[in-house]
């Protein structure tokens, strides 16, 4: 699957009705592009990465490129460029990566982490991170699916490098076991911590999460 993800922050002056209208418009526009889409406000408590999330899924990058050439893509993109409602947004597009797929039917929480690398990121550490991120599923039973992929297109406040996409059984698994397992803070997070020798990730990451009913990563799965 090839994904295109928007992470938007609402403008200060956007009231509830404007946000609701935005949500409806984005859902409609996303649906006009592909039936594989997930668009909604993020859940509380919020994580860095804005107030609203939209992901489009395509069978492959060729389908994504075809979609981008259509007027419907411009209709969607324009919604995120409306500064009366959206103060700013991050965009990332990525394809296949390291996929762990354990659940194809039920998932109540979707989350996408995007981050960029330090300019002088140690290649050995990058390789180590690539090899170990998906190990989170072995320590967090509620993390049912995940994919770690290189971002091929990005826009916004940084040149986003990687996406770590997750389907949880429920939000409580993300807020709970995912955060408390020593594998996260004491091992994986070392790539993200400036005081660690393993540090390779810029601190301005985005990691919104939202509700869903079915696991997004199971789309297009065999």
């Amino acid at each position: 699957m090839f994904s295109a993800v928007f992470m938007a922050t609402f403008a200060e002056g956007a009231d509830a009705s404007a946000k609701e209208a935005f949500d409806a418009d984005v859902k409609a526009s996303a649906g006009a592009i592909t039936t594989v889409n997930l668009a909604a406000p993020v859940l509380e408590p919020p994580m860095p990465g804005g107030d609203y999330f939209c992901e489009l899924g395509f069978k492959n990058q060729a389908e994504y490129d075809q979609a981008k050439a259509q007027p419907s893509w411009n209709d969607l993109y324009t919604l995120f460029e409306n500064t009366a409602v959206v103060a700013g947004f991050e965009f990332a597009a990525y394809g296949d990566g390291t996929l762990t797929l354990q659940e194809k039917s039920v998932s109540k929480c979707h989350r996408v982490l995007i981050f960029s690398l330090l300019e002088d990121a140690n290649p050995d550490m990058v390789a180590k991170m690539e090899a170990n991120m998906n190990g989170m599923t072995e320590h967090v039973p509620g993390l049912r699916n995940c994919k770690f992929a290189k971002i091929v297109e990005s826009a916004g406040s940084d040149s986003w490098a990687y996406a770590f996409e997750c389907d949880f059984d429920e939000p409580g698994s993300f807020l709970g076991k995912y955060m408390t397992t020593p594998y996260h803070f004491c091992y994986i997070d070392k790539f993200f911590e400036p005081a660690c020798n393993e540090w390779i990730v810029n601190t301005n990451l985005c990691t919104p999460y939202l509700a869903q009913e079915t696991p997004f990563l199971a789309n297009y799965a065999d």
């Binding site: 919020p46 955060m179 397992t181 803070f185 400036p194 020798n197």
Partner: protein, 161 residues
Amino acid sequence: MAVGAAAGVASLGAMAGCSQQTASPPEPANGAQATEEDEGGQAEMAQEEKLYVVDTFMPKPGDGKSFLDDYMKTYRPMAEDAGMVLVSSTVAPPMWLDNDSNTVQVVWALDDIAVACWAMSSATRYNPAYVEWCAAVRKRVVSRDRSYFASEEYMEVLNNV
């Protein structure tokens, strides 16, 4: 207004607060009422229920004392403001070397992973001064390592939350 990635990150600490450790300390082996000896043992157990953050540096030859002074002057306040408790600061060999590198080790304690650790990281890594200092240290020292330690008994708790 902070937008996107620059938006408020205190929520990481708040988010971490949504989770709670449910494991309780083990009962005394014989189930007897607490005695002075038991209370000492339980105090020892409580002390072991910490996450220890161990920073080990090898400054360049002759830079040992200057580096440690800078660490204590610049890094220590940021770490303490973020909730870290200084446990020890040691140097090997126990003399400042001019023509070789000392090894400097600083040990901190945090109460738990669920709240204290993530609150610490939220309070530090989004502070430009903290990031700048860490980036400078990367270039200043021959090597550095930060690792997180816990007692074997606490491992049982941490891995079964």
